[in-house]
Symmetry: D2
Subunit: 323 residues, 4 copies
Amino acid sequence: MVDRAVPTNLPGPAPAGERMKIAFLGPFGTFCEQAVWQVAPTRSDLLPMPSVGQALAAVRRGEADRAVVPIENSVEGGVNATIDELSHGSSLVIVAEMLVPVAFAFGVLPGTKQEDIHAVGTHPHAWAQCRHWVEAHYPNVIHVPTASTAAAPEILTSVEDVPFQAVLCSKPSAKLFELEVLADDVADNPGAVTRFVMVSREGDIPPATGADKTTVQVRLPDNEAGALLTMLEQFSARGVNLSRIESRPSGNGLGSYSFSIDIEGHVREERIQAALVGLHRTCPEVKFLGSYPRVDGVRPNIRPGTTDEDFASARAWIEKILG
Amino acid sequence: MVDRAVPTNLPGPAPAGERMKIAFLGPFGTFCEQAVWQVAPTRSDLLPMPSVGQALAAVRRGEADRAVVPIENSVEGGVNATIDELSHGSSLVIVAEMLVPVAFAFGVLPGTKQEDIHAVGTHPHAWAQCRHWVEAHYPNVIHVPTASTAAAPEILTSVEDVPFQAVLCSKPSAKLFELEVLADDVADNPGAVTRFVMVSREGDIPPATGADKTTVQVRLPDNEAGALLTMLEQFSARGVNLSRIESRPSGNGLGSYSFSIDIEGHVREERIQAALVGLHRTCPEVKFLGSYPRVDGVRPNIRPGTTDEDFASARAWIEKILG
Amino acid sequence: MVDRAVPTNLPGPAPAGERMKIAFLGPFGTFCEQAVWQVAPTRSDLLPMPSVGQALAAVRRGEADRAVVPIENSVEGGVNATIDELSHGSSLVIVAEMLVPVAFAFGVLPGTKQEDIHAVGTHPHAWAQCRHWVEAHYPNVIHVPTASTAAAPEILTSVEDVPFQAVLCSKPSAKLFELEVLADDVADNPGAVTRFVMVSREGDIPPATGADKTTVQVRLPDNEAGALLTMLEQFSARGVNLSRIESRPSGNGLGSYSFSIDIEGHVREERIQAALVGLHRTCPEVKFLGSYPRVDGVRPNIRPGTTDEDFASARAWIEKILG
Amino acid sequence: MVDRAVPTNLPGPAPAGERMKIAFLGPFGTFCEQAVWQVAPTRSDLLPMPSVGQALAAVRRGEADRAVVPIENSVEGGVNATIDELSHGSSLVIVAEMLVPVAFAFGVLPGTKQEDIHAVGTHPHAWAQCRHWVEAHYPNVIHVPTASTAAAPEILTSVEDVPFQAVLCSKPSAKLFELEVLADDVADNPGAVTRFVMVSREGDIPPATGADKTTVQVRLPDNEAGALLTMLEQFSARGVNLSRIESRPSGNGLGSYSFSIDIEGHVREERIQAALVGLHRTCPEVKFLGSYPRVDGVRPNIRPGTTDEDFASARAWIEKILG
């Protein structure tokens, strides 16, 4: 349980007069905790959770007001667990997104010699983002997966006969566990970031800012040639751009896909509503997963003929024809 | 002025208790008069007009209740004068369409010898539909254009030193002027038909029958590569088919076009409205020229996801999201 | 038969040492003759023909080397007879295009009084381009169609009891027949032009200049929803733009269309060939009607990835894969 | 090193008279080994590798003739490591695909009591495919990740103070390590399968069978609205269907994607070549990753106008035009 002094502009209705409970992918010390701090209001209680599913379930069950979980990183792509968990069960919506630069500390127990390092403990995603660096500096070292990046230093410092001698974790974690840091800012891709989202219960839609994203999950008709093309035309017919599109197996066997999509715009804008109506009509399943401000503040290029006024004026024309 | 005994199901509001005045492309005896009879109500007065423009103008000025004019024939294509006149000036709308089989009588003054036929009088459209027949049967004969097919027998029987010895006209015309008919059913293309439309004033929209057409005139953005493709996608994104599309120069110089389009469906159907909204948003000019029953009664193939219910249900989903 | 002193860069193989025979839509004095002069070589014989069909037939039969006929005007649109005649029979190809500004002289027999003018003789296309001017200046005057604009002054000056008192014709014609010109430059649309084409026998393809057009006639599959969209995608998939697209009934009854299309580019360019291959594969009929320099010299905007080099390099990549 | 008696139809040139060396994602006992057995020739040596990257590197370095690695599973989606490794470095190509049904044994050390099970060791992908089953049968049990499914029983049986009491592994593995199997066929999704591929060196293209796949990796132009739509049109313009499309971050930051695509057809077919030429022209990077028989033997629906003959005939028509 952590308190915090700096007020922030938390999106969504804050529980008046009460402390906000925010579940997140724990433990403390992970990048996810850093993401929470970007948006948590003054009076928040942080609840570390062992998995994305459990963080989201805490919101679904009302045990937390919000959950913060990773959704995409610039090296590994979408975080499957998050995308899949959001699209199942009762509805949750994204109310904010946050970016956290991803660089790791390469830490060891103080006094460890370089030649004694045979294995590195860390989360598989972290390993994926550092393996070329490790191969270059510690050839022949193997990876031992841990449940989170923060779990690695915890295990290293507390378990006997631990099967690894070094860890890749966040810098605060390395400091917390008093490791000796042999390298700072380890990352195969400098500039790597992870995108996190803050999730709330259905019905919580922050107001449009002019620089927003809308996230949906769309299942395509099975085995229909051109179904993806047809789906994309629903966007292009309204001049709507996508900032992310990611395929996920829909769970009905190989060859059956859903798509997780970030749309440039807010569900309160007409062109977005028109595109969503098109999706709803033509796809077997569309799930709305929130409209929220873009963390980069980039405003979409709204093409001629797609402003709210253009839609209103076109509908007024039809009304006039119908008399 | 002609009266008529057989009641018909005239589309559009009939002037109660009064005779209906119907302007048409005259004179009497043309195919256009035959078209009028397909839809004219019991108590009608027919007003023959010397041009399409004047027939339409009679409706615009309130001197006629309806106008019947040709709009397309299966050999020559669109009737430019009609398409252009409809798209200019105050708005008129099509309320019915009619098909008239097109075959001509080849008539001469009684006693004319075959070797004396050096020229044939008829309207250029009729000539275009019979010229191969004439070349085959009367090689070296030339064409003398007349203002209508009915004008040809009238001139032949009334003017001295007339510059043609035979005419191509409708069979009723040939009979009316007591010509000797050397050949019946003359037509290069057996099965040729002309499509006529009945036009009323703006606001007159017959109810949807399930087998309807909607006619619009659309001007594309000038000099924009792919503008036609983009326009057609507004239809395909809503599963709407076209039964006719015809380009017309928009009058701004070569390379600038409008399109005259027949859409399968009625403006009271949601998918048609959605497509029209899309056109209105993205094209510099869209003119609604009527929704009316198809004369062939063919019902459109309504694709999954494009029924009125699909639209209503999609919009209800959006309303629910917006709370 | 007319000789001409100024040498020109006539496209296509000139009959060496011989005079070139050029059929055109006569008589002398029409705009078509003006078009011929824009491209005729020094030593040409001009053959005026009574119809477009006969001008083209003269080339097909070898009686003329070239034919010059109108193909499109900026008010009336495509010249149906030309488009249809080109697409039937043995193949002819367009080797050049020419633009002629269209403005008419309004001429009368010297001494005619304004109040005596009740009818105007001219070709229907000329009437279509001047009727608003006539209505404004001579209300209640009617139109008497003639076979060409040049036929009108000829009839006016030679026939007794002629049914019109004024003509609309080209200025050279008015001068030739010594008419009194009451108004010069008559045209509802200032800036109106007619586009003419010079036609040669199949196999005659002028070299690519970088600013060329290719003309084709394409028949779409009957009754196939989206067939036009699919056809246009064959162009857009290769970044090819169209400068003209015009529907023509294909002669199989209403609802069945061909399209006459001008493509920006030359058949010797890869992207044009790729688009034509796509059309040939997917449309029941494609007729090649020539590649020739654009009269306006406008070079197409060649999109990234569509140069000849891009095609060659992509094919080389495939060859390398195939080993 | 394993020998094998049953001859198989291994695709690709077999090293004559020599044993084939096949690297695979080890250790022995994983599903990947089962996949190898589906295609390995009689005389093969199997080389278990600790990672996908090392299995592929063995082929790149010539230490193995083939590698077998997982590429997609029906629950978790694409295997990122495989997709990414194939698209980097010198070229490898897929020469065969294999499906392995995925169901797990839930095993414990003989005599373990149900109430003593607090943690389950297995690979994260296996966990993802069984977690609902575990939650239902062993609520509150946590996951301890291992480097492979086969590593879990090995650790359970050989390490002291192992932090889990049960494992999810393949049935052969459970048997090999003499575990007590508490549940067979554990899988949240009955019918789950993993798709494996056999990889060879560039240039190795099995002959077309009529039921083939082609795999490519395509990078889209950055930040270009509609780039994905445009790319898909390169396929649809040639009637080519996709059986899988998966986005991967291209490593240039969030918002920049590559797509891993399985195409229905073989690179020796014309329509596939034409689509690949289109991709090569318009996308900044296209990597060919092999053409190989589909394991399910499904033949593509070849649309009218897209057979090899259609392409040949269209090209012949162009050749004739060019003279």
